[in-house]
């Protein structure tokens, strides 16, 4: 029986009673199970890092940092370097962030700052959010059959006319950096837009009111007050979008051309860490697997750094703008 020190002395008509022994038992079982589940996330991450790390260890020993600066991936000579993939990953993701992030924030403003009737707004917003759920292979398919044929003439013209300019120094034959980055941009746009729009919506009305009260025009309110106030939320959206771009695999494997070259040209084929994994992993022998695990670690490290930096910057802006600790 549960020890209840008050039962006897409490006023006679009280219905108060201690929890039953089963209640206590359920409580303790449930709590330890929940604890174990929370712990399991930590264990999972530890296991992932351990598994990838231990498999990569021989490659790390063999190649050291040369792996990161090396530019050839040659199974025949067992010579592995991922600089082109790192370059491709960052270059395509940054381009995507630039385009998709910018457009995403613009859409968020468009969605939340009273440019349309409230009902249309809801519709538009639903569409944007649904688009965030379209699988990446579908975007890849669209890229192959719609985007590439569409931009090929423009790319050709740019190359012919501005070929001296490094960004346009090669012609677009088909797959390449530009279609890959554009598709990435389209893929992250809904994510960025949805999260930024949320950030805008969370701004209390009184802030907007204050700004209008100062005699600011609509755009002064948006640019000078709403944007900085929403910045930490927008940042979260951008980081999430960037992270998604970094780790995106299939759409890129379908569109980027899978060539290990480093080129600033937008129309040159390139490769990314994720699509290197996708295309090489199934056929890799022991030694190459170790190198690929090393590449996985590099990719993991990049996303980790981006995420942690994102969190840190978010915290910084929160402290700066919102005075939160």
């Amino acid at each position: 029986m549960v020890h209840d020190p008050f039962k006897d002395s409490a006023s006679g008509n009280t219905l108060s009673a201690p929890p039953s022994p089963t209640d206590y038992m359920k409580d303790s079982i449930f709590r330890s199970f929940a604890y174990f589940c929370a712990l399991s996330i930590i264990l999972l991450v530890a296991y992932i890092v351990f598994e990838l790390g231990s498999q990569a260890l021989p490659a790390i020993k063999d190649h050291g940092l040369g792996f990161i600066t090396g530019t050839t991936w040659d199974t025949n000579q067992n010579e592995f370097g991922v600089l082109p993939e790192i370059w491709g990953t960052l270059y395509s993701s940054l381009l995507a962030l630039l385009i998709g992030g910018g457009l995403g924030v613009a859409i968020a403003i468009f969605l939340t700052q009273g440019f349309m009737h409230a009902k249309v707004e809801v519709m538009f917003r639903t569409i944007i959010e649904l688009l965030a759920a379209i699988p990446s292979v579908v975007y890849g398919l669209w890229g192959i059959y719609v985007l590439i044929p569409l931009i090929r003439p423009a790319a050709h013209w740019l190359h012919e006319t501005f070929g001296w300019f490094p960004l346009f120094s090669t012609d677009l034959s088909g797959p390449g950096l530009a279609p890959a980055a554009l598709v990435l941009a389209i893929m992250i746009l809904p994510t960025v837009a949805a999260i930024s729009a949320d950030a805008f919506r969370r701004i209390p009305y009184k802030v907007k009111e204050a700004a209008y009260g100062m005699g600011a025009t609509k755009w002064e309110v948006i640019l000078k007050v709403m944007l900085p106030t929403a910045s930490s939320g927008i940042l979260a959206g951008l980081v999430l979008g960037f992270g998604r771009a970094l780790g995106e695999t299939m759409a890129l494997a379908m569109l980027i051309g899978n060539v290990n070259d480093i080129s600033v040209s937008l129309f040159a084929p390139a490769n990314t860490l994720a699509s290197l994994l996708a295309s090489t992993f199934p056929e890799a022998g022991q030694i190459e697997i170790q190198a690929l695990m090393y590449a996985s670690l590099v990719l993991l490290l990049i996303t980790f750094v981006v995420n942690v930096a994102g969190l840190a910057v978010q915290q910084y802006t929160m402290r700066k703008f919102e005075g939160k600790k």
Binding site: S16, P19, D23, D27, F30, R31, A34, Y35, C37, A38, S40, I41, L44, V45, I48, E51, L52, Q55, L103, A106, I109, F110, F115, T126, I128, L130, L131, A133, I134, P135, S136, V137, V138, Y139, L141, W142, Y145, V146, L182, I186, L189, A193, T217, W219, L223, L240, G243, L246, G247, T249, A253, M254, L273, L277, P282, S296, L300, T303, F304, N307
Partner: protein, 299 residues
């Protein structure tokens, strides 16, 4: 009248003139910027609309009974469909859900209610956030090493586990968020009545947060249904209907990936049709999430 407060104020540069002036820089800027967002919004809509248009135009024609029941055609054949891929996708998403939803929800309970400020909770929360940015292909790499190699076969199990790895942080964070939305004063009320923590959770927090948790869960499910990279080296693909969980298993996303790279008209048509089916599936999950989410309790 314009020398208000002249004794204190620095002389005003512009006297009160309240009239509108369309040619003023400020008005022009406003006009320009408004045009710009409209332009950008339209620009951004074009690809999105085009994706939908292509799905419907290219994929709609073939979306019939044959497509959703027949087996995938070999390279030169005509007809065929992706019935086995639908079954495979649903099965693997089911496995992933069965694994990740209970664990994720329980972990969220720990993070949100049971011990939010403990070290375990803090680390677990941080790692969940990091895991949401985990490249999905790495989940495949990891599960390949852990399950495929040890069991000696590609399998629906392996695919499901890989998807579960991706769903877990999403479910956890969404559920935690939903539980945190339950007003503190409601929890206080329950504690004040003499509930144990478990009772607070089951009697107050879960019923109140359920719509929110469901929304998060269904969005995670929708995301998993569209994943392809983690299935590439875990479930592989199969040209037949699955008959057990321990064999290579087809999925819509891998079918789309495979077929879209093929030079055969029939397969490309089916890739579009399968894309439409996959989007409809994901859309269905999304709409369910939205409907569930809308019933969210209001104060």
């Amino acid at each position: 009248m314009s020398q208000i407060n002249e004794q204190i104020l620095p002389p005003r540069i512009n006297l009160p003139s309240l009239e509108k002036n369309v040619l003023e820089l400020r008005a022009l800027k406003d006009f320009f910027l408004t045009g710009l967002v409209w332009g950008l919004a339209i620009l951004a809509s074009i690809p999105l609309i085009s994706v939908i248009y292509m799905l419907i135009m290219e994929g709609g024609a073939r979306l019939d009974f044959e497509a959703i029941t027949a087996l995938p055609p070999a390279g030169f054949e005509t007809g065929g469909g992706f019935g086995n891929a639908i079954v495979g996708t649903l099965t693997m998403v089911g496995i992933a859900s069965a694994l990740s939803i209970p664990i994720g929800t329980m972990a969220a309970l720990y993070l949100a209610i049971l011990n939010p400020n403990s070290k375990t909770a803090t680390v677990s929360r941080f790692l969940s956030k990091v895991l949401t940015g985990f490249p999905s292909i790495l989940a495949g790499v990891f599960v390949y090493a852990v399950i495929v190699i040890t069991t000696g076969t590609y399998s629906a199990w392996a695919g499901g586990v890989a998807l579960a790895v991706l769903m877990l942080p999403t479910v956890t964070l969404a559920a935690e968020e939903a539980m945190k939305q339950v007003p503190q004063r409601m929890k206080d009320a329950a504690f004040g009545m003499g509930c144990t923590r478990t009772q607070v959770i089951f009697k107050v927090v879960l019923p109140t947060a359920l719509p929110g948790i469901m929304t998060g869960v269904i969005l995670a499910v929708a995301g998993a249904a569209g994943e392809s990279a983690p299935l590439l080296f875990t479930a592989l693909f199969s040209n037949y209907y699955m008959s057990e969980l321990a064999e290579p298993t087809a999925s819509l996303s891998i079918l789309i990936y495979n077929f879209s790279g093929m030079p055969f008209e029939n397969q490309i048509e089916l890739a579009w049709t399968a894309s439409l089916a996959l989007v409809l599936l994901v859309l269905f999950f999304n709409i369910v999430a939205r409907v569930v989410g809308r019933t969210k309790f209001r104060e």
